[in-house]
Symmetry: C2
Subunit: 220 residues, 2 copies
DNA sequence: TAGATTGTTAATCGATTAACAATC
DNA sequence: TAGATTGTTAATCGATTAACAATC
């Protein structure tokens, strides 16, 4: 094994980079300094990347900088919000009222990103009908109805892996356009449905890889 | 905005691809068929990618296929487990006993990936001392002690964004080597500490982008 | 053997970076 | 103005793909 993954590519996608910029600039703004500008080099240094790439990224989303000054924080933030659709409402339901499902359904941060959880489902009769946060836990029978009534576009799946495919079929049938899959499994869905796999083990694997690499670098 | 992100790069990293292969093959194996082989084309089709890339990836982690037959499921799975370190124990603590922290601390899947949560912390006196799952909630005062006693290498941060930096400083001080950051903020840490940012909004942004793109493609 | 599938080489493509002119 | 910083062009680098020979 040793060196097999010596140079794994851990580069981040444009989406990830934009969000990283967003948090950094947002914080900087909040931290009180009335200095509402930020240069590409400042951003690049923090995230450990090339400043030209930062400028390219910002140009790509239509932000123009100001020579000698840098970028206006507010302009960058609002362009990123625009592009990522943080300000458009996107209706979603959560399927699976376990630990993760509960955490997601009651997470207060989602509205900031435009996600509106308007239903929590589980097929455990011990759970259905009870409140979790501000949500009544619905039984899967109400799925089609809730989806239609609320124009739900996204289903967040936090069910055990062995039921994930079956549940995916049901939400697709109910008319959902996208699935945010937190189950440790792959899913087969029709062409017209989008899936994003949120596999917790990816993050863990990356972190564990970083630790190993650091240790190795130190030993050299 | 319209077309700005027309062709965003959503390619996945090697780590993500490996995990995707893993789930797919694992499932296939479980689904009973005694057919314990899988071809690069089968994998590629499912994930919607090029078969040569699959073979390159597998070659990179040291798996050799068998002409006319494909790859032996068991060999691929074990190579991926090896490379990703699923079988090595990695000790971690969770800081923040809110919804997400609780979900992570009680998540039964982590041992499968080699993560061993051996402590849950919060500085809310309402929570410290009580049990959550099989964990006593420790106060932050015990941090250094627990880290040292258990040789904890990773801290999972699920605290509110405004405390994240402060907590990061504390866990670094306590000797942690890596931070798995679930707070919506960037962190500054010393050179010798690794950070993986697990920003929920990245997944959401990707999904929302996929929905938009699909809609646009349909309209064309 | 014939044929399916791998492994590898070479070509392509796109993303990143370096260099530097443009701007205020 | 001088100087800092952007924006853009051209060069580089690496990842992906196509083509095909090797294998069983």
């Amino acid at each position: 094994m040793e060196n097999i993954l010596a140079n794994v590519d851990l580069r981040h996608s444009l989406l990830e980079r934009l969000i990283h910029y967003y948090y950094f600039i947002d914080e900087r703004k909040k931290s009180g300094n009335t200095e509402v500008t930020v240069t590409s080099t400042q951003i690049a240094d923090l995230i450990n990347m090339n400043d030209t790439l930062v400028r390219k990224d910002l140009a790509a989303i239509g932000v123009r900088g100001h020579p000698r000054v840098g970028f206006k924080a507010e302009e960058v933030l609002s362009a990123i919000r625009d592009v990522l659709g943080f300000d458009e409402k996107l209706r979603a339901i959560v399927i699976g009222a376990g630990g993760l499902g509960t955490a997601l359904a009651t997470y207060h941060g989602f509205p900031d990103y435009g996600l509106d959880i308007c239903g929590l489902f589980d097929n455990d009769p011990q759970k259905t009908g009870w409140m979790i946060g501000k949500h009544i836990v619905f039984s899967m029978n109400s799925l089609a109805h809730v989806v239609e009534q609320n124009e739900v576009r996204i289903a967040v799946l936090t069910v055990p892996a062995e039921y994930a495919q079956e549940v995916a079929d049901q939400v697709v049938e109910a008319g959902v356009e996208g699935i945010w899959n937190f189950a440790s499994t792959s899913l087969e869905v029709p062409e017209h449905v989008s899936v994003r796999h949120e596999h917790i083990s990816v993050g863990l694997a990356e972190l564990s890889y970083l630790l190993k690499r650091k240790k190795r670098d130190d030993t050299e």
